[in-house]
């Protein structure tokens, strides 16, 4: 089963400490060696992004930064795993690294299973 890990965090927490990035690099390396991580990536600041929204029949484009947002997406990783528990375990390990290397940082990793071939429901 494929899982998407979406990391969200409070804005304006500054840049991550080097030690964290190294630890994350090591964790990612392990996941690659374990054959579980298919891809990942980090997102730049919302100032470099935009939101394209459809509401009330209108499509509107708003440039970043998203100052009003409490949390923003910081990165993602796509895994191929056996179970939700395995996915949660991976996410726990990822968050434990933040706890260890970046005191005070707050955020979450959302764990979402992706649809399997032929599973996507539509009308």
């Amino acid at each position: 089963m494929k899982y998407m890990m979406i990391v969200k965090h409070k804005q304006d927490q500054g840049n991550p400490p080097k030690a964290l990035m190294e630890a994350i690099g090591k964790l990612a390396e392990e996941a690659v060696k374990g054959g579980t991580m298919l891809g990942n990536g980090g997102l730049t600041a919302t100032a470099q992004g935009a939101r394209v929204r459809l509401s009330g029949g209108n499509v509107t484009v708003t440039d970043g930064p998203f100052t009003e947002a409490k949390e923003v997406i910081g990165g993602y990783a796509q895994f191929e795993l056996k179970s939700k528990e395995e996915a949660v375990e991976s996410a726990v390990r990822f968050m434990e690294l933040h706890k260890l290397h970046w005191p005070g940082w707050e955020g979450e990793t959302e764990v979402r299973r992706m649809y399997e071939p032929g599973e996507f429901p539509c009308e």
């Binding site: 796509q78 191929e80 056996k82 179970s83 528990e85 949660v88 375990e89």
Partner: protein, 472 residues
């Protein structure tokens, strides 16, 4: 039951599920590390299981440790020490009884270094052990999934649609054979490496194929087996990065898996390659597959360069052996799969290149199935008549007499040549040979299409639909 009980129950359940997950992640490394010490697959697995039981007893109460893998490793290590002490005591007792015993060094090995280093090496050794040629293929498959895939016997049984007892027996037999034959826990020597590696690759690809084109049962795809095989392949690619064929196999599986979504129709029926909606191909997997193929090419390039250097360094009198740097069969199959992956539409497929690749594949690994595939490619590159000529040669030598794809391909080519009545017979014959229910249905449907076409044939030239067959 009180609320507290309920809370405890749900907490216990939660930690059990977490333990399962940790087990799946950690057990291959754990067993591999233990193998280095005890050199017996059965014992290593028992010790690892003991550590798991300890976790099930302790974690729900104490909470999951910060580093669950290290906890399991440390616990297993203690069990291994106990195991050696017991064995030493037993051997002493036997000695006291006056039995003849070989003089044996029973010193407890250096656990710390054994368990902490070499994890990668140990995993690779474990892979070679589980796929050792002394074992029957089905034993290799079961043992590999169990030891390296972290699957339970029940999960393996479910995946292969056989009773759990059958798988359990295969595993027991395989372990016994490994012990009886004193199969060493090692990466094979250079001289036998290629042969032993191909045994490992074969097991992985067999698992993949069983998931990708189920030979039996009602479903056309069993994705969990594909995922298990991909995971094993990806692990192997990191363990043996210098082996081009490993990357070739990974590339082949990634690219084939990229089509999973597109190759099953709304009611579960197979959709053939050229009829697939390419927008449903998983671009991430294609990208990974093409990257793996590049890696294989790079490895081959490096080997070639180092051989050239070695030849230059060697004295001029030495006649250089023609370096065996031909592309291996997995690399070639991956190259073929890549041709399809790179084509944005079926019409853009480079069939001439595919014909050449099948030719190369047929030279290094001659097989009627490869020849059949080449015939399909030839029909696409040079027309159905050219393909049919090759298929007819194959049909006449009977080696594929029970292979349903031969009449299926032949039927397809006949249909394109508007010989629909002959085509119908071929599709019916193919349907009678396949063991997969979905595939049978599809083939019978094609036979009926021919029947309908026969009625209106007099006035119509057979529509040259862009060919819709390729085994890939």
């Amino acid at each position: 039951m009180t609320a507290t009980d309920l809370h405890h129950d749900s907490r216990r359940e939660e930690s059990h599920r977490a333990i399962d997950a940790v087990w799946r992640i950690e057990s291959p490394r754990l067993i591999a590390g233990l193998m280095r010490i005890v050199r017996d697959v059965g014992v290593a697995e028992d010790l690892a299981q003991d550590a798991l039981v300890a976790a099930i007893e302790q974690w729900p109460a104490d909470g999951i440790p910060d580093n669950p893998g290290a906890w399991l490793m440390a616990t297993a290590k203690h069990r291994a020490i106990d195991y050696f002490r017991r064995r030493t005591r037993l051997e002493r007792k036997h000695e006291e009884l006056g039995r003849e015993l070989e003089e044996k060094e029973m010193a407890v090995p250096d656990f710390e270094s054994a368990l902490d280093d070499h994890v990668g090496d140990d995993l690779l050794r474990l892979m070679f052990t589980a796929c050792h040629p002394v074992l029957p293929t089905e034993g290799r498959v079961a043992l590999t999934l169990r030891l390296l895939g972290g699957l339970t016997t029940e999960e393996i049984a479910r995946a292969f649609l056989v009773p759990e007892a059958t798988i359990a027996q295969r595993i027991v037999r395989a372990k016994r054979l490994l012990a009886e034959k004193h199969v060493p826990f090692e990466v094979p020597q250079r001289t036998e490496l290629a042969g032993r590696l191909s045994s490992v690759l074969e097991v992985i690809y067999l698992v993949f194929n069983e998931g990708y084109a189920a030979t039996a049962g009602d479903d056309w795809l069993r994705p969990t087996l594909c995922e298990d095989a991909l995971r094993l392949g990806r692990v192997l690619a990191e363990l043996a990065p210098q082996e081009a064929e490993v990357h070739g196999l990974v590339a082949l599986m990634e690219i084939q898996a990229s089509r999973s979504r597109a190759r099953v129709g709304p009611s579960g029926e197979p959709v053939l390659l050229l009829d697939q909606n390419r927008a449903h191909w998983d671009q991430l997997l294609i990208h990974r597959g093409l990257a793996a193929l590049e890696r294989s090419e790079k490895v081959r390039g490096e080997k070639r360069a180092s051989r050239t250097r070695a030849r230059k360094a060697a004295a001029a009198k030495q006649t250089s052996k023609s370096a065996d740097l031909a592309r291996g069969s997995y690399v070639l199959q991956a190259e073929i799969a890549a041709c399809h992956a790179r084509a944005r539409a079926p019409e853009e497929t480079d069939w001439h290149r595919i014909v050449a690749l099948y030719g190369e594949l047929g030279r290094i690994a001659p097989s009627p199935i490869v020849e059949l595939n080449r015939a399909v490619a030839v029909s696409m590159a040079s027309g159905p008549a050219a393909g049919l000529a090759l298929v007819d040669v194959l049909a006449s030598n009977r080696s594929l007499a029970n292979y349903h794809l031969l009449p299926s391909v032949r039927g397809d080519l006949l249909k394109k040549l508007s010989r629909v009545d002959e085509a119908r017979l071929e599709f019916e014959h193919a349907a009678s040979l396949t063991r997969n229910a979905r595939e049978r249905k599809l083939l019978l449907e094609r036979a009926r299409e021919c029947e309908r076409a026969l009625g209106s044939q007099q006035h119509q030239v057979g529509e040259h639909k862009s060919g819709d067959h390729s085994i890939n």
